[in-house]
Each structure stands twice: as C-alpha cells, then as structure tokens.
C-alpha cells in the first residue's frame, strides 16, 4: 500500500542526481509531501510553535550532551571535578554546560506549554488519541532523563534527590525493594548508581527521538488540530507547511531562544540549587532537599499524602502514607494517558466550552500553586495553616478535574455553536477588520 502510494504520488525532480536517488529511494518525495506541501490549518496560532521548539531544544541537549560526555567522568570520586574541569579548562566548556543545564529547563518550558495547548484546544480527542498518548510517553521519558541527568554532576542536591526519589520505589509492595536495589546497583546510592545513570542518560534521548518520530508520524496521519478544534474540510482551510509555517516556526523559535540566551549568559544558575556546587557528601544531609523546578508540582503531590489509608473498620493498613504519595505522584501522569476517554465531549476547543475553559484555567493555576508548595520546606505554613493542607487540596483538585469534572462536563456541558469551517471564520474576521478600518 505504501509502495503503491509512493509510486502514484512520486514527483519528477529536475535535478538529475535528486531524481536518480528519488527513483531508488523516494526520500525527496517523502520530504516534499511531509514538510513542504503538508497542509496545516491556516488559523493555527503561536501555541502551535512549541512542538518544533521542543524538538529543537532536544537536539541542542543531545549535541551539548555528547560533547560533555567526552569530558565527563562517571566516577563518584571524579564526577564533580570533571564537571568543574569542563567549566574551567575545556574550550567553550562553560558555554556548553550552561546551555545544557538551562536547556533542560527551557525544554520543559516548551513541553509544558505544548501540553497545555493540547489540552486547551482538545488536541487529544479522536482521531488524535494515540498521538496524545505518545506525547505523554515522551513527557515521562523526558522526566526520567532530566532526573538522572541532574544526578550526574554529583553535587549535594544530585546525591540527595537521587536518594529520596529512588527510595520512593521501595513503597511498591513485594517488588519495591528489588527495584531500588536494581536502580542503585547495590545497597545505597553509590558509584554503581552513578555509572548506570550515566549510561541511561546517554541512551534515553535516543529512545525519546524514536518516540518523537512515532509522535510526528501519527500527527501527519491525522493532521494538526487548530484553535477552533473543527476538522479541516476544504483546501481553503489550509496552507502548505512551507513557506508559511516554516518561517513562522523559525520566528517563534528565535524569540524563544532570545529568552533562553538571557538565562544562559546572564543568570545561568537561577534554576540550579546552590547546594549542587558542593560535592556530594553521604554524611551531610542538606537542610531542604528540593527537586528541579519542573518536578515541583509532582513533588508537592508526593508530599501531600501524609496519612495511612486503612481497610475500612480494620486495623490493617491498605496503603501506607509513603505508597499513597507515590501513587498520587505517578498517578497524576498516568492519568493523562486516559484523558481522551475521560473527556468524551464532542467539542474539541475550549473556545466553545466556557465551563471546561474555566476549570482548565483553574487547573493551570492549581498546578502552579502546587509548584510553589513543592518548593517550600515540608513544615512550611501559609496563613498559619500547614502548607501541606493546601498541597493536599491542590492534589484533590488535580484528580477531581480529570476524574470527576471532565466526565461530568462531557455529559452536561452544552457548549457554543461551532462555526461551519475555518475558511468562513477567517473571511468573517477579515471582513470585520477591514470594515473597522473604513470607519
């Protein structure tokens, strides 16, 4: 079938070399189809830039990461010093490392905005469910990669967050302790942990690239969603990817890079905890162990569960506080896999669903607030109330949004009337703006 398609849709290229290759391996036909004439809804806005930005950032991470791997030593006695050597003695090493270090943060900025856009405009709905799920998988893999990458400099925060987070797995009944031993490669966070983390940190990005490939393939089957959330109907609804969206993606990327550059060159350590410039010491625990900012909301959910959950009317603890926290944290991401079925409302875009939009914006604020809770020490208070209570409330809202509000809204929300086509909406907007100019 693919063979047939490529046969029928093959383009004759003018350049003889290109033509010769394309007749044998239709890579130029493919590129033309997927990246030149590929139709994109003409009304997509700048939120649609962040997928391309995230891929660009991942490539930056891989390029700088590979160079750093040439100078880094995965050995607990040398790791910290080898990073300092990169900063001081390797030509341009300080730049490569700061680009990599802040690149992780900016990759997550792009990814979070990308995910938000997907939820706001209902991009996970039929026929893009699998596209969305692959995206959630990429998000999970990125989190894993970022976490183990943060361990490699072997500073105090590296060591202690590795200890805290890997210990979480011990809460899993029966196999938990086995998993922890496997992660550590021994009975504490030590040299075997560092060496396997380094190996995995090098491997995972290539797996991510593969999943991104699948993610993009799926995207090119269904085509892009758009701010109206309605299907593309006619050719007037779309424009070819090149040059309309290549130039726009480039412009958006450059604006993003400018902000990124300000951080790399003028505040390279804002996202970094100062304790990570102290070499790891298993005998000295830092006063507050905080994860990187992009994990903070999830960290707050982890700490929100401080009570055991028993089997009703019995003294047997069903879920310990620790396991409860772990379930709350990992569950919050696992939940996203089921989003296409939790929200079965026929309208995609939040533009035509005022109730959904209200609760979604509340979710964003809740998520940011959870991030704040996660950044504070465990015993902090707000208005004399333990901050953890707020953390629990925020966690409950997060879960309620997905498990209660979305299914409920799918049933009761009527939503606004959808426009008939993208083209019509653009024509209307054009008319009103030109008539506005005439007045």
């Amino acid at each position: 079938m693919i063979y047939k398609m490529s046969k029928t849709e093959r383009v004759t290229f003018k350049n003889p070399v290109v033509r010769w290759i394309d007749e044998r391996l239709p890579i130029f036909t493919l590129m033309r189809k997927e990246y030149k004439v590929f139709p994109i809804p003409r009304n997509v806005n700048y939120f649609w830039n962040f997928g391309a930005i995230a891929i660009f950032m991942l490539i930056v991470m891989m390029a700088t990461g590979i160079v750093m791997a040439m100078h880094y030593t995965a050995d607990t006695r040398l790791a910290f010093d080898s990073v300092e050597r990169i900063m001081r003695d390797v030509n341009g090493g300080w730049l490569i490392r700061y680009v990599h270090m802040n690149g992780a943060s900016f990759l997550f900025v792009a990814v979070y905005i990308h995910i938000f856009r997907g939820i706001y405009y209902g991009s996970y709905k039929k026929p893009r469910e699998l596209l969305w799920m692959l995206g959630v998988l990429i998000f999970l893999l990125l989190m894993g990669t970022a976490f183990i990458g943060h361990v490699l400099p072997w500073g105090q925060m590296s060591f202690w967050s590795a200890t805290v987070i890997t210990n979480l797995f011990s809460a899993i009944p029966l196999i938990g302790d086995g998993i922890v031993t496997l992660l550590w490669g021994g009975f504490s966070v030590d040299n075997p942990t560092l060496t396997r983390f380094f190996a995995l940190h090098y491997l995972l990005p290539f797996i991510i690239i593969f999943v991104i490939f699948l993610h993009v393939c799926t995207l090119h089957i269904a085509g892009s969603n758009n701010p109206l959330g309605i299907n593309v109907k006619k050719s007037q609804d779309t424009l070819p990817f090149h040059p309309y969206f290549t130039t726009r993606d480039m412009f958006g990327l450059l604006v993003f890079l400018m902000i990124y550059a300000v951080f790399v060159f003028y505040m390279p350590n804002v996202f970094n905890h100062p304790d990570n410039y102290i070499p790891a010491d298993p005998l000295v625990t830092p006063t507050h162990i905080t994860p990187e900012w992009y994990f903070l909301p999830f960290y707050a959910m982890l700490r929100a569960i401080t009570f055991d959950i028993p089997i009703p009317f019995m003294d047997i603890i069903l879920v310990s506080a620790k396991l409860g926290g772990v379930i709350a944290m990992f569950g919050s991401i696992i939940l996203l896999f089921f989003l296409p079925w939790l929200d079965s409302h026929p309208i995609r875009s939040a533009r035509f669903r005022p109730l959904f939009r209200f609760f979604l914006i509340a979710l964003v604020l809740d998520f940011v607030f959870l991030g704040y809770v996660g950044s504070q020490p465990a015993d902090a208070t707000l208005l004399d109330i333990p901050l953890n209570h707020f953390g629990l409330t925020g966690t409950v809202y997060y879960y309620a949004f997905f498990l209660v509000i979305l299914p409920l809204l799918s049933k009761i929300e009527k939503g606004r009337e959808l426009p008939t086509s993208i083209h019509q909406v653009i024509l209307q907007a054009g008319n009103s703006s030109t008539s506005g100019k005439n007045e």
């Binding site: 300080w94 730049l95 130039t247 604006v255 400018m258 060159f265 804002v270 704040y372 054009g430």
Partner: protein, 259 residues
C-alpha cells in the same frame, strides 16, 4: 472577540505566575537573615572584575584564608587572568613545595610548585583538617560563591558579621557569633580585621574593604569565565535580535499574500 482577549489575558497571567514562582527568591530562602546587599563591580550585564581588587583579594586569600581553606580548582596559571605576568606566576608557584614522583628510583620527592600546579591545600587530607579544627571541616573555597544563595553578599556578610553573642547564649570554646551565619554560631574565628594587611596602592585598610576584595577574588575563582560569558552574551543577543527581526519581516511578507 472580547472573550478571546479575556482568555489571552488569563493565559498570560498564568504564564507569568509560573515564572514568578520559579524565580521567586521565597522559593529558596527560609532563613529570615537580611544579607548586607552590596553593589558589586562584577554584577550587571556588561560589567567586569576590578583587576586591582582581584589582586588585593588574592593577596588576602594567600595570607589569611589559605591557612585553613583549600582552593583546589584554581591553578597558578589561572592567575594570568587577574593580571599577573608569567614571571610573577612562576615566582608565586615556586613559593610552595609539592610532592611529586615517583622518580626513576621509585621514590617520591619534593619540588617547588609550577604554574600548572593547583593551589596547595593546607592539609594532607580531610581527616587531618578535622583533627585540627575540633571536627569541623573548613570548606574548599573554589566554588563557595556559587554554593551559597546570594553568594557574594553572603560571604561578605560572614566576613563582616562577627559580633558579641547576645546575653544568655553560651558559646563553647572555638565557637563565635555571626549575625549572617544561618543559626548564628560559626566555628571560624573572625578572619579579618582593619589594618591587618598593608595595601600599597592607598586603598583604605578597613575590614569592609578587605571583605570586598576577598569576595571579588572568590567570585572570580568560582566563575573565572564570567567576563567572557557576559561579552559573548551581548554578541549572541545582538545576533538573535537582528535574525529575529529579519525573520519577522520575512514571515509578515509571506503571510501578507494570503491575508
């Protein structure tokens, strides 16, 4: 249309709140200590290190701090960056003796320091340091500025913040009261005092000036590429600004045809 504007405003608000939380200093500082915020020569987007202050700071480090604190990431050759000549660096390095070897006979031997040697630690190992200091380990100073929140102001505060303990606090022998130390009790005795070291260039020989010079030197030691970084940053931003402008124009022009 106004609804769409409203959403946009809300979204912008949400994005800024994310940034505000991420960047807020509240997120990290718990201690109520108010640091003495100084105006540093090296802060600011295009600023550089004050070379004279760096050299004075190095002199104080060498005469005072180095008695107890190592600085293992800085080599004598690095001093070229703060204005010493090759000859001066050779002379400074040669003042220290290093154990090297083994030689052809299999024996370790002592030799004077070379520019490629790293600053010599005052201790053979950590345990030796602890044994001398009642169990406390004086931290290595290579990265001290980056290893503390508001590093320069923090270290300046510690150096100038010694005072008599409030009445009723019992300090053990070898403990001192410092208003800027988290918890206020510090094991380091007051390292600096006015007129302790003679400055030949007429700079005031006060505790505050000494502290400023040392902090300047330590900031350079922690981030020797600071000047390069800021200079490169300007070029990169300028390039991006122009490129973004061009791309904006191209994009406008291409889209004008279909609008």
């Amino acid at each position: 249309m106004s609804k769409a504007m409203k959403i946009k405003r809300l979204l912008i608000f949400a994005l800024f709140s994310v940034l505000a939380v991420v960047l807020s200093p509240v997120a990290h500082t718990v201690e109520p200590i108010q640091l003495p915020i100084q105006d540093w020569h090296f802060s600011g987007p295009l600023s550089t290190f004050d070379r004279a202050s760096l050299q004075r700071g190095y002199m104080i480090y060498r005469r005072i701090c180095a008695a107890c604190h190592s600085m293992k990431h800085v080599a004598f050759r690095n001093l070229e960056a703060i204005g010493y000549s090759e000859e001066q660096i050779k002379a400074i390095a040669a003042e220290y003796m290093y154990t090297d070897g083994p030689d052809e006979g299999g024996n370790m031997y002592e030799r004077p320091g070379l520019p490629s040697d790293y600053f010599k630690s005052p201790y053979p190992n950590h345990n030796a340091a602890r044994a001398i200091h009642n169990g406390a380990l004086p931290p290595d100073l290579s990265l001290i500025i980056k290893a503390r929140h508001h590093g320069p102001d923090h270290v300046y505060g510690i150096l100038t913040g010694y005072e008599a303990a409030p009445e009723g606090t019992a300090l053990r022998a070898g403990q001192y009261w410092n208003r800027y130390m988290p918890g206020h009790i510090i094991a380091m005795m007051p390292p600096l005092a006015g007129n302790m070291i003679a400055y030949e260039d007429g700079t005031p020989q006060t505790l505050e000036q000494y502290a400023r010079d040392v902090v300047t030197f330590l900031t350079w030691a922690a981030e020797p590429m600071l000047e390069d970084r800021k200079r490169a940053g300007m070029k990169v931003l300028l390039f991006l600004l122009i490129f973004t402008g061009i791309m904006y124009a191209i994009q406008k022009r291409i889209w004008a045809a279909v609008r």
